[in-house]
C-alpha cells in the first residue's frame, strides 16, 4: 500500500476511489434524479468544451471506458482483436444499460476508432443523441478558428435541443468562470506534486482527476480545495525515487495498479498526460466578450500539445515533452501507451527522437485498460529508476 495517512486526505481519496470504481455512475444518476428535467451528456477523451454542456444545465460526464473491473461480454463482438480496448468496453457500458440515463454523447476527433464509434453509437443507441466533435487542425483564427466557432455554436444548439432551453452567452461565461477555477486547482495540484511528489502520489491525483469527470464542477472545485488544504497539512515520507514524466495515457486509461506499480518501482511521476481535459487550457479562458470566441481562442492558442493535434511548426514537434521534463525537473520519460493506439504509437518514435536529441532517458511499454500483470512493468520501471540513479549525471 502507498502511504496514506488516516486523515481528511484519505477520506477525500476514498470518496474519489468509490466514484472511480462505480461502473453504474450512481453519482451522476443521483444528480439527474434530484431534479426533474436534468440532462446528462457523456463525452469520451480527450477534449470537449465542457463549459457549454454545463451552461446548458446538463452534467458533463466523462466516459473513459470500463477499466479493469468491467467484464466485457458484448463489446468484444463489435471489434477485431487488433483494435484497442476502450471502444469495446464503452460499447459494453452502453449495451449493458450502464449509460441508459445519458441523454447525449460527444465523441471528440482523437482517432479513427473513436470517430467511427460516434457513428456506431448513432446506429446502436438511436435514442441517445450522439455527436462528433470536429476539432480544427488549422490554428489560424479566421480559418480553423472560424470553423471551430461554428462547431461550438452547433454544439450549443445541439445541447439546447437536448435540454429544451437555449444556452445563453451569460450562462457560458458563468461556466467558463467555474471551469477556469477548476483548471487552476488542478494546475495547483500538479505544481505541488512536481514540488513534493512524495506528498501527492500520482495514483491519488489520478483519482482526484477522475472524480472531476463525474462530479458537477462546483462539487469538484470544493473537493480539490479541500484536498489541497489537507495535503499541505501532512508530510509523508520522502523516498529515494527518481522523477519521471509519464506520456501516452491520454485516452484509454491505464489501470490504477499500473500507476501504483510505477510509483512502487521507484519513480515519482512529476508530470503526465492523464485526462488532459482537466487542464487543457494552460491559462484562464477570457470571460469578457463573446464566450464562444474565447473558447475557440484558447483552444487554438493556449491548449496542450498532444498527439491528436497537428503541430504546424516542425521545430516545436515533441518539445512539449522536453519542456515538461525541464520544468518539472524530471530525470526521464516513461512512455506507457495503449496497445493499438494509433495516435500514441505513431507519435512515439518522433517523441523518442526529440528526447534523444536532448539527452533525456526513456523507456516504453504498452498496456490495456484491463492489463492485470504488473510485474513486468514494475521490473522495467524499477530498472529504469535504478539506471537513472546509477548513471544519470555521472
Amino acid at each position: 500500500m502507498l502511504d496514506m495517512p488516516k486523515s481528511a486526505t484519505s477520506r477525500i481519496v476514498q470518496r474519489c476511489e468509490d466514484l472511480f470504481s462505480d461502473l453504474t455512475f450512481e453519482s451522476a444518476r443521483a444528480w439527474k434524479a434530484a431534479r426533474p428535467g436534468r440532462k446528462v451528456v457523456g463525452y469520451m477523451p480527450y477534449y470537449v468544451p465542457r463549459e457549454i454542456i454545463h451552461a446548458a444545465g446538463a452534467l458533463p460526464l466523462g466516459v473513459l471506458g470500463g477499466g479493469d473491473q468491467l467484464e466485457v461480454v458484448h463489446g468484444d463482438a463489435y471489434y477485431q482483436s487488433y483494435i484497442c480496448r476502450i471502444p469495446r468496453s464503452t460499447i459494453e457500458l452502453g449495451v449493458s444499460g450502464r449509460l441508459d440515463f445519458v441523454d447525449g454523447m460527444l465523441f471528440p476527433s482523437i482517432c479513427d476508432v473513436i470517430r467511427n464509434l460516434s457513428g456506431m453509437w448513432k446506429l446502436m443507441f438511436p435514442k441517445q443523441d450522439a455527436r462528433y466533435v470536429d476539432l480544427p487542425q488549422n490554428f489560424e483564427d479566421d480559418v480553423g478558428g472560424e470553423f471551430y466557432r461554428s462547431e461550438l455554436n452547433d454544439i450549443r444548439e445541439w445541447l439546447a435541443r437536448i435540454t429544451g432551453t437555449p444556452v445563453t452567452d451569460e450562462a457560458i461565461r458563468a461556466s467558463i468562470t467555474l471551469f477556469n477555477e477548476n483548471r487552476r486547482l488542478v494546475r495547483q495540484a500538479y505544481a505541488l506534486r512536481a514540488k513534493e511528489p512524495w506528498n501527492i502520489p500520482s495514483s491519488e491525483l489520478y483519482l482526484l482527476l477522475r472524480a472531476g469527470l463525474v462530479l458537477p464542477v462546483e462539487d469538484h472545485n470544493q473537493l480539490m480545495r479541500e484536498y489541497l488544504v489537507s495535503v499541505r497539512e501532512q508530510q509523508r515520507a520522502i523516498k529515494d525515487n527518481c522523477r519521471v514524466v509519464l506520456s501516452g495515457v491520454f485516452c484509454e486509461q491505464p489501470p490504477l495498479n499500473l500507476i501504483k506499480s510505477i510509483e512502487l518501482s521507484g519513480c515519482y511521476i512529476v508530470d503526465d498526460d492523464f485526462m488532459l481535459i482537466t487542464r487543457w487550457e494552460k491559462s484562464d479562458i477570457a470571460i469578457d466578450g463573446d464566450p464562444i470566441a474565447n473558447l475557440a481562442h484558447s483552444y487554438l492558442h493556449d491548449s496542450y500539445s498532444t498527439s491528436p493535434k497537428y503541430e504546424p511548426d516542425q521545430a516545436k514537434k515533441g518539445m512539449y515533452l522536453v519542456d515538461s521534463v525541464r520544468q518539472n525537473q524530471a530525470e526521464g520519460v516513461i512512455f506507457a501507451m495503449p496497445s493499438f493506439c494509433d495516435p500514441a504509437l505513431l507519435e512515439r518514435p518522433m517523441l523518442q527522437s526529440v528526447l534523444k536529441q536532448h539527452g533525456v532517458p526513456q523507456i516504453a511499454f504498452k498496456y490495456a485498460e484491463n492489463s492485470g500483470q504488473m510485474q513486468p512493468i514494475r521490473e522495467q520501471a524499477g530498472t529504469f529508476a535504478d539506471s537513472i540513479k546509477l548513471w544519470s549525471g555521472a
Partner: protein, 436 residues
Amino acid sequence: MTIITRPRAKPADAIKDASMTKQKEMMSRHYERLSDAPDRGEKVAATFVPGNLNELLMCFDFVNNLPEVNAIQNGLRKTSGAFVMEAEKLGHSEDVCTYVKSDIGMMAKGNIGPNGRKLPDPDVLLLSYTGCFTFMKWFELLRQQYNCETIMFHTPYMADGKITKDMIQYMVKQLKQDVIPKLEKVSGVKFDIDRLREYLRKSAKAEDDLVWVLQSAKTKPSPIDAYFGGIYYIGPIFGAFRGTDDAIDYYRFLREEVEERIAQGKGPVTPDGDMGKERYRLVVEGPPNYTHFRQFWKMFYDEGAVIVASSYTKVGGCYDFGFRHDPDNPLESLAEYCLNVYTNRNLPMRVDMLENYVNEYEADGLLINSIKSCNSFSAGQLLIMREVEKRTGKPAAFIETDLVDPRYFSAANIKNRLESYFQMIEQKRAGMRGAA
C-alpha cells in the same frame, strides 16, 4: 542434415486485358517521370490518395508522389514485408499502419521505387488529411526525414451525414490562405485559376466514364470485377492522372472495352483468363491484401465469385451520388471531393451505401475484408456487417488480412472462410427456392 530444396516454379504470367496493360504502362511512365524529376528540374509533391488535389498540384507543375501507392507496389512486388520489419527495427510499433512502415522501411533502405530507381525527395508534403487519422502522423514522420515544407489541409468529417456550408468555407479558406500560397512559394509558379478549371473539366470527363464502368457490374454476368479489377481502374483517377488527357483516353478506352465485353456476354478478365460461369455476386467492404493479391483473387474466381461493387473503389473519392469536379466552382469542388471520400463518411452512411450496393447490384451478400492496420476502415466493420445483413436479408462474411504485411495473410484460413461463405449463399438460395 539433409536440406531438400525444391525449384520454385515461376507463376504463369498474368493475363491482362488491353486496358490493364495500358494502365500499367501509364503507371510505369509516371514512376519514370518521378525518378527523372530532379534531372528535369521538376518539383515533387508527396500527398495521399484519398481526396488528393492532383489538379491543384498540376497547376504548380508538381510531379505527384503517393506514398500509399509506393507501399502497394512494394506489396505487389513482395518487398513490403522486409520494409515493414525494417521500420519495426527502427522503433515503429508492430500495432500501427503497415503502409507507413513500408514507406519508412523503404526510405531506410535507400528509397528505391518500384521501377528500381531512387525516388526523389519531396519538395513539399501536402498533408491532405481526409478520412484517416494516420495520415497526419505519417507526414509528421516524413517531415522529420525530409525537412521540407509541410502543408496541412484538414477535411472535416461527415459525422452527421451531410456537407455543410461551414465545412466548405473552412476548406476553401485553407486553400486560399494556406495551401495555394505555400504551393506558389515552393514551386515558384503563380496560381492560375483558369488552369485549374481546365484540369477539373478534364477530371469530370474521365469521372463520367469511370462511373459508367463501375456501374456496368449491374449487368449479368458482370463484365468487370469491381474490387480486384477495380483496383486497376481506380489507379489513374486516384493517382497522378486525374485532370489529364491521359486519364480521359484511358477511361474512354476502358469503357469501350467493357462495352464490348457486355456485347459478348463475357465476365471479367482474371489473371488466368476470362472468368468462367458467374456463380456468386458479392459486394466487398475494405481494402484488399496486396502481398498475395493474385492468390487472393484466385480464391474468388476459381469459385465463380465476382465482386460487383466495393467500397475500396471509393477510397480516393466517391462519384456514386453524382459528384463530379466542377470547373465553375473550382475550390469548392475540390473541398467537396475531399469530403466525399468513403472513409470520411460516417458509419450510418457507409451502411446505407453497402446496403444499396447489395440491392442495386443484385448481389448475393456482403464480404468484409478487415485490414489489421487500417482502423479508419476496420473500426466498426462488425457492426456494419450485422446491419447490412439485417437490412438486406443476404448473408455476410468476415475475413481478416493486411494491406502490405505478408505476416497477416493466412491463405488456408481465408480460403476456408470463403468456401463456408459460398456454401452459406447456396443454402440461402435453396431456402428461398423452397419458400417459393
